[in-house]
């Protein structure tokens, strides 16, 4: 036991002395980070990364995270982390504790965009040899972006040693980038240039295109330029193909947003015949419910924040549905058979609801965060698909399917259809029509609330949220054919993809105008929408 302890101590001493040795070399450079403003920091950073010492990595990471401060009393550069009102200081190199200091006693070393770029470049160069493959990969990407010629040697060594195929490809791309854009290009043989451009073409994304364009337009030799230009055109063709697919995806994604917004209306307006101008406000209430749920999670369970959306879904459904039921019981039920008056009353309600939300939550936007599984994007071939949009597409279809099942396969759905098709007869058959009415309106409103949860991820959470979607929702329902859920689905997807298809050619504004004109003309051809209800009910 004692021996073990002694051994441990010895190790500690060795480690401490070795870091101390490093620290001695880096100390003035680290110290220089704290002076001379942005340019001073940048200069010191360049020297720090030139030194090529991995011991600098934690310092640079602290700088990136905004944890590097200057102690005002003696100008020492320290790492400071907030604890309560004060800061806990540590030495950036030795990590020795330096005690606490009040906020006024330290000054942050601020960074701007060009420093941020420099930081990721030097971190890239310094971590190419890291034992962690993920770190090496992002280091290679960083070097690819910075094209820092001084990293070339390390890069070559790293490539020689690299076992992981993917990481090696990334490193080779980075090397090709440095070779083509740097001074080395003039000394390269044609075959080497060819190989480098091929490597970049194989990468096949926009970043590669940026580089190749740069080479083609630069002062490089004619051969290089020609090769780069050829690579650019290959790449552009490929990207144009993916751009078309991407546009299709945008159409699908916009369509699914429209579907979500409209599907609740397809119930209250399509099935029940209530011209529900307060539909948008139900969406808004759903979004605000999400905000409240997230606030609760932020305050009480920040660790579970990623689950907040999942909790918000049932909550929004219940809150919006509840408000819907209250509205139905207090106002709408007196107005059945007088659809135009429902327009008036629900318009009044929508004004009041907007103002109510404005009074309670204030007129400004509220922040609804994205859980980690909904942020960011991934590449699928040449497509960039954002997780948020992907989930919304999936969610929209799931809601649609669930609603379809509920209406077609359940007792409740059967009652809804019975009541809307023939109220007196349904009543005679023992269906409690009043209750079914309330529940149907509640269902439609609740689905609008679900839409609110999804829309809170991509749009403003403000009292005006609903206003932006109400007209589009009506267009979708009417275009698809009132009273037909499939019509709403097809309508939403058609209008969404049409909008996205027109946008690149006509611009956003004109595209939207054209879609509206298309709707007007389409209704002339099919006065009852895409999927018209057939039978006598139509003329009623």
């Amino acid at each position: 036991m004692r021996r073990a302890l002694r051994w441990l101590m010895a190790v500690c001493v060795v480690v401490a002395t070795s870091t101390a040795a490093y620290a001695a070399d880096l100390r003035p450079l680290v110290q220089a980070l704290g002076s001379g403003g942005y340019s001073g920091t940048e200069k010191a950073l360049a020297q720090l990364s030139e030194a090529g010492d991995p011991a600098a990595v934690p310092v640079i990471e602290a700088l990136q995270a905004g944890d590097l401060y200057v102690r005002k009393s003696d100008g020492t550069v320290v790492v400071a982390r907030k604890s309560g009102d004060a800061f806990t200081l540590t030495d950036p190199l030795t990590r020795a504790a330096l005690g606490d200091a009040p906020a006024a006693a330290v000054e942050k070393i601020r960074i701007n965009n060009s420093l941020r770029r420099a930081i990721s470049a030097s971190l890239g160069a310094l971590t190419l040899m890291s034992p962690d493959a993920g770190v090496r990969r992002s280091a290679a990407d960083a070097v690819f972006k910075s094209r820092d010629a001084s990293a070339l040697e390390t890069l070559s060594a790293a490539i020689a040693k690299e076992q992981d195929k993917g990481v090696r490809a990334a490193m080779e791309q980075a090397r090709a980038a440095i070779l083509l854009t740097g001074e080395a290009a003039s000394k390269m043989t044609d075959a080497d240039i060819q190989a480098a451009t091929d490597t970049l073409t194989a990468r096949g994304d926009r970043d590669a295109l940026v580089l190749l364009n740069m080479v083609a337009g630069s002062g490089a030799s004619d051969v290089t330029k020609k090769l780069a230009a050829a690579a650019v055109s290959t790449l552009e063709q490929k990207l144009a193909f993916w751009a078309a697919l991407q546009n299709l995806w945008y159409g699908l994604s916009l369509g699914s947003v429209l579907l979500l917004a409209a599907i609740g209306l397809a119930v209250t307006f399509g099935v029940m015949g209530v011209i529900n101008m307060a539909h948008g406000e139900m969406v808004m209430i759903g979004a605000y419910t999400t905000f409240l749920v997230q606030e609760f999670f932020r305050a009480h369970a920040p660790g579970l924040f990623d689950l907040s959306i999942l909790v918000a879904l049932p909550a929004a459904f219940l809150v919006s549905g509840g408000v819907g039921i209250i509205i139905e019981r207090s106002v709408i039920r007196w107005l059945y058979g007088r659809p135009l008056e429902t327009l008036l009353a629900t318009w009044g309600l929508s004004l009041a609801l907007q103002q109510a939300v404005r009074s309670i939550f204030g007129p400004t936007n509220r922040e609804v965060g994205a859980p980690s599984w909904m942020s960011g994007a991934f590449e699928l071939g040449g497509l960039t698909i954002t997780y948020g949009r992907l989930w919304i597409v999936i969610f929209a279809f799931a809601v649609f399917a669930a609603l379809l099942v509920a209406l077609k396969r359940t007792w409740f759905g059967l009652s809804i259809r019975a009541v809307t098709q023939n109220r007196p007869m349904a009543n005679a058959m023992g269906i409690r029509t009043a209750r079914v009415d309330a529940l149907t309106f509640g269902l439609g409103s609740g689905i609008a609330g679900l839409a609110g949860v999804a829309l809170s991820q991509i749009d403003n959470v403000s009292p005006n949220l609903g206003q932006g979607y109400i007209l589009d929702s009506f267009m979708v329902v009417v275009f698809g054919g009132v009273g037909n859920l499939w019509g709403t689905l097809v309508g939403a997807l058609t209008l969404g993809s049409m909008n996205k298809f027109l946008e690149p050619y006509a611009g956003a504004v004109l595209g939207k105008i054209l879609v509206l004109i298309f709707i007007i003309l389409f209704i002339q051809r099919r006065p009852r929408g895409l999927f018209a209800l057939k039978g006598r009910a139509v003329e009623a």
Binding site: G273, I275, M277, V331, W334, L335, G337, R338, P339, L340, E341, T342, L343, L344, A345, W347, G348, L349, S350, L351, A352, L353, Q354, Q355, A356, S359, Q467, L471, F474, M475, V478, V482, V509, L510, K512, I513, L516, I517, I519, I520, L521, I523, Q524, R525, P527, R528, G529, E539
Partner: protein, 382 residues
Amino acid sequence: MLLRFFLMGLDRKAGIVLTILAILAVAVPVMTLWVPADSPFHLSVFTVSLLGKYLCFALLALALDLVWGYCGILSLGHAAFFAIGGYAMGMYLMRQIGPRGVYGNPVLPDFMVFLNWKELPWYWWGFDQFWFAAVMVLVVPGALAFAFGWFAFRSRVTGVYLSIITQALTFALLLAFFRNDMGFGGNNGLTDFKDILGYDIQADTTRVALFVATVAALALSYMIASGVIASKLGKVLVALRDAESRVRFMGYDTESYKLFAWTLSACMAGVAGALYVPQVGIINPSEFAPASSIEAVIWVAVGGRGTLAGAILGAVLVNMGKSYFTGALPELWLFALGGLFVAVTLFLPKGLLGLGAQLKAKLPGRKASPLSNAQPADQKGA
């Protein structure tokens, strides 16, 4: 012939409406221009332009009531015709500014100068003449309505489908007019007017004259509308509102009847817009907003659909309420307005003008009088 047409529509109600308008036309100028400012009977110019604005809205409501109340066409896009009429007048007023604009360009309006336009686009030609603008006020909304109605009625687009495509129409126009490339001043619209027919637009007398013109237009439109309704044509309109297929089967060309009323109504709305613009001093695409068309429908409903006089009353009262509450209860007025709409639909299904009949029906011991044949049937619905 024409006289007979007008006289035909003159029932007692019309008499009262016209009398009130006549009183307004006489009393307001006197109270504004000749009664001394310290007298309790003095009306400020501010009030006159407010009243003028309300009456423009009343004219829009009247036009809407003609198609909604009597033909069963619920237009949720009537503000579009109003705004187009307004733009036609605004273009005339813009051209009247001449070299007094900030850049001093004698031909081009200021917004064209700072967007670097070199010459006047063709659709601005002729608007320096008042007569041309006045004709356009009627022709452009009328033509648009005719084209739209020709297609829609022939395809038998009815009910809520028609309502929604009128919304699509006004929304498309809203977006189009927002575009600065359209040459109508984009979001800023047309503003900073100086003269109308050579008179200073800000002078008290001009304002009063505009007010009197509005009253006259409203009275004339009222007479035309009630004349149309009292005529045989009006009977057909009411009939096709209540049962379109039956009228069609009787051999009437229902589309033409509807188209006539629809176009006439759009022209009236255009006139309302044209009178509105010089009185408020600005026309901007937000007049095309779908919400403004819906608001117009609400005025008619509040006053009483299918009564003409009710439309006027509703428009004036709702807008007066809006003016008052936005000043008195700036934070709460939407509750008041929203509550009013809910209350009217729940408790006054026939609007304010139906209140009398409603009360009478409730009185015990008296047989409820059948509601006026001018009251719309509900089952037709949307």
